[in-house]
Structure formats: C-alpha cells, structure tokens
Amino acid sequence: MSFDVAMTLQRGSLRMHYEFTAGPGLTALFGPSGAGKTSLLDAVAGLVRPVEGHIAVAGATLFDRARKIDLKPEKRRCGYVFQDHRLFPHRSVRRNLLYGWRLVRPEERWLSIDITLDLLGIRHLLDRMPATLSGGEAQRVAIGRALLSAPRFLLMDEPLASVDASRREEILSLIERIRDELKLPILYVSHDRGEVERLAQQIVPIEPASATA
C-alpha cells in the first residue's frame, strides 16, 4: 500500500475528515478549490498536525495519534512540489537544487544531479536567480529540487497552475516519466479532470461535503 490515510483536520471551526488507501503509482486527489486538498498534502508532509487518525506512506507510519507518532517534516522524506514553487529567492537555481541534496546521506541518494538536469531540461538555468525564471522554468526547478532531496514519495500540488499553456504538455509528460521511470508513489492534487484522467492510476474525490461541522 503506497498511501494509507485516515485522519481529521481542524480548519478553523470546521473538522475535515479524509480517508483513503492507494496503491503504487500516481494517486490524484480530485475536487473543487477550497475542498481542503492542500491541507491534506500539508498534513502528509508534516506541516499541519491532524487532530486525529493516522498517515502511513509506503509502509512507514508518519503520523499516528493513538501511538503518539508524529515525525517532523524533515524526517518524512517527502518531495513536496508546491503550487507556488517556493524557490528560495536569495539562492541561485544551482543552490536551490542542492539545498535538499546536501542534507541527504550520499548512500541514500538515488538520482544523480546530471540525470535530474537532463530530465528536467534545466542545465542552462543553473546560474539564474529564481526571480528571473518563467513560471514553467521555476516549476521544473522546484520539481528538480524535490527529486534531488531523495524523497521516498512525492506530493504535487497543482504543479501546472503557474505554467503557461504551451509548456503544460512538457511538464505533464515529465510527470509521467517520474511516475513510470522513478516509480515513486505520488499524491497529486488537481481540479482539472483532463489532467487527472491522463496521469492517475487512482482517483480520490475530495468533496467539500466531507467537512463535518
């Protein structure tokens, strides 16, 4: 089982309950904006603490309220690709890419820098600062930065949101390659049906109705 999630999040006065299990490959969380998809990813990454339940990924328990397990974000080994790329503005592309890579023990790295640069086509961007990148370039660098931190799974939050239409196809096929060649479990958030149907092995609907007052 790649993802095993059953948990409750407190968002203001709302309690949101999420429950699903998913096999290998790419699992899409599909639903309208505001349904709490990003909160779910944040909880899996350890940035938001559930009030109840458990989260396990690829056989490792990341959070379990009953067993008092709550791994810190830096121990969860997730590659989180944010909707707003979140590249460090004070670091060049090179130093963004190396940020997570440096923090992994060499024997745990499973992807070389060279392969990443070629896979993403970002070799020519190394000396640029994030502010000078286009939306598509920044998103590719953000994906590279996440992959180089040697994650055990990927979280992708609308990775196509800031990408112009002409570059969408490129990133979509890139995500397919990551899914098929790197065989990483991926949780993928989107509200675009076409995108989800093309990429996902499994679709988990996230309804605003899952909120219980």
Binding site: A45, G46, L47, K72, P73, E74, R76, R77, C78, G79, Y80, F82, D84, R86, F88, P89, H90, S92, R94, R95, L97, L98, Y99, G100, L103, V104, I113, L126, R145, A146, S149
Partner: protein, 235 residues
C-alpha cells in the same frame, strides 16, 4: 584653510564614542533580535505589554529614561548593587554607564526594524526548507536569517546612529566626565558652553557627521556582499 589633524582631546572623544556605541550595540544586538523574534513570531498574553515596555525609551523624554536607569542600575539600586557585588560591573560615572544608556536608547529602533523584517519573511519558504530535510536551526540560518538580513542591517545602523547621538539619558545617568563618559554629543555640548569655541564645536560636529556617514556606507557595503557563488565546485 589648513586642516590640522585631531588634537589628543579630540582623539579621546572620538575613540571613547566609538567604544561606547560599539560595545552598546554589540551587547544589545542579541537582546534586540530575541525581542524582535518573540514579538514577530510568538503569541502569548501580555505581548502588548512587552511591546509597550520595549518602546518606552523611544517615547519617554531621554532624561526620564536616564533617571529610570539611575533607579535601576545606581550603586544602591537593586540591579546595580547585584551586578557590582557579583561581577564587579558598575555603571555610575563610568563609560559602561554611557554604553548602557546608549544601548537602552537604541533598543526600540533596532527591535522595530528587525521585527518588521522577520514578519515579512515568507513562512511558506521555511516550510519548504523543512520538507527538504532541514531542521528548525538549519532553516533559520539558511532561509530566515538571510531573508531578514536587510532589516537586521537597517536595525544595526539605526541603533549605531542612535547610540552615537545619545545625549539626554547619558548625561543624566553617567554624567559628563571627559575621558570617561564624555562622548561626541556631550563634548559638543560642553564646548558650546565655553565662549569662543565655535571652531571646536564645528570640528566635533563635522566628526560626528563623518562617523554617521561611514556607518551608513558600511551597512550598504555589508548588505551588498551577501554570499553568492558558493556551491560552484559541486555543480
């Protein structure tokens, strides 16, 4: 007009001023940063009160601040007595007193600038660093601190300027003793009291302008040479 070098007395005033304000800022810097951090990041009851206390030296007449310092750090005051008995640190009529007054007066300006810069650091970038494997300390030093650096520098310069210009609290608390507590502003004030010393006043004032401008230039230079070009040997 021949510009002669500084007289021994002027050198004394200048070096004392530099010593007082640099010691003051070095000592108060960690305190200012900690307060800025607490006010920017923590939520707790009494935060408004803490904020008000930090701002007191900014809104009080400096003479009152000096008087409050006397009440707290004077020879017979509780904190003053404790410090002199335990670590032998006394403030009254000593350059350390001038430094303390300068530090206290600089504190609110430094806290304000640093707090503002910490509040503008995007927390989402810190979260990104955490997911990439950085613990809280590494995140602080590699993301938060570099992004807050311009504000910290601004706070440092404001503090330096405020402390070199400090007059009211210093003369009240540490008095005006040549060679011990007589910093530039106090020396200018003393010179003004003597008839026929206009040239002396002008020279000291010029020195004071020079000092402020160099502090500004230094901070500009520091904020410009922020580390680029590391990591080149890996990629």
């Amino acid at each position: 007009m021949a510009v002669e070098g500084l007289s021994p007395e002027e050198w004394e005033v200048l070096l004392l001023s530099l010593k007082v304000s640099s010691v003051a800022i070095a000592a108060i810097m960690p305190v200012a940063f900690a307060l800025a951090w607490i006010l920017a990041r923590w939520r707790f009851p009494g935060k408004v009160l803490l904020d008000a206390v930090v701002h007191l030296p900014l809104v009080l007449p400096p003479v009152v601040t000096g008087w409050l310092l006397l009440l707290t750090f004077g020879t017979n005051a509780p904190v003053g007595r404790f410090l002199s008995e335990t670590v032998g640190l006394t403030f009254l009529f000593r350059w350390t007193g001038a430094a303390l007054a300068a530090a206290v007066m600089a504190l609110p300006l430094m806290v304000r600038a640093m707090r503002l810069s910490l509040e503008t650091v995007d927390r989402r970038l810190e979260n990104a660093a955490r997911t990439l494997g950085a613990g809280p300390w590494r995140t602080f030093f590699s993301v938060t601190l570099p992004l807050a650096t311009p504000g910290i520098m601004a706070g440092l310069v404001l503090g330096l300027a405020r402390s070199t210009g400090e007059f009211g609290a210093t003369i009240t608390f540490a008095s005006n003793i040549p060679g011990e507590t007589q910093t530039l502003p106090l020396a200018i004030y003393s010179a003004l009291q003597l008839p026929g010393s206009e040239w002396q006043v002008a020279r000291l004032a010029g020195l004071s302008v020079l000092l402020s401008v160099s502090a500004l230039a230094l901070s500009e230079w520091l904020s410009r040479r922020n580390g680029q070009g590391k990591d080149r040997h890996v990629l």
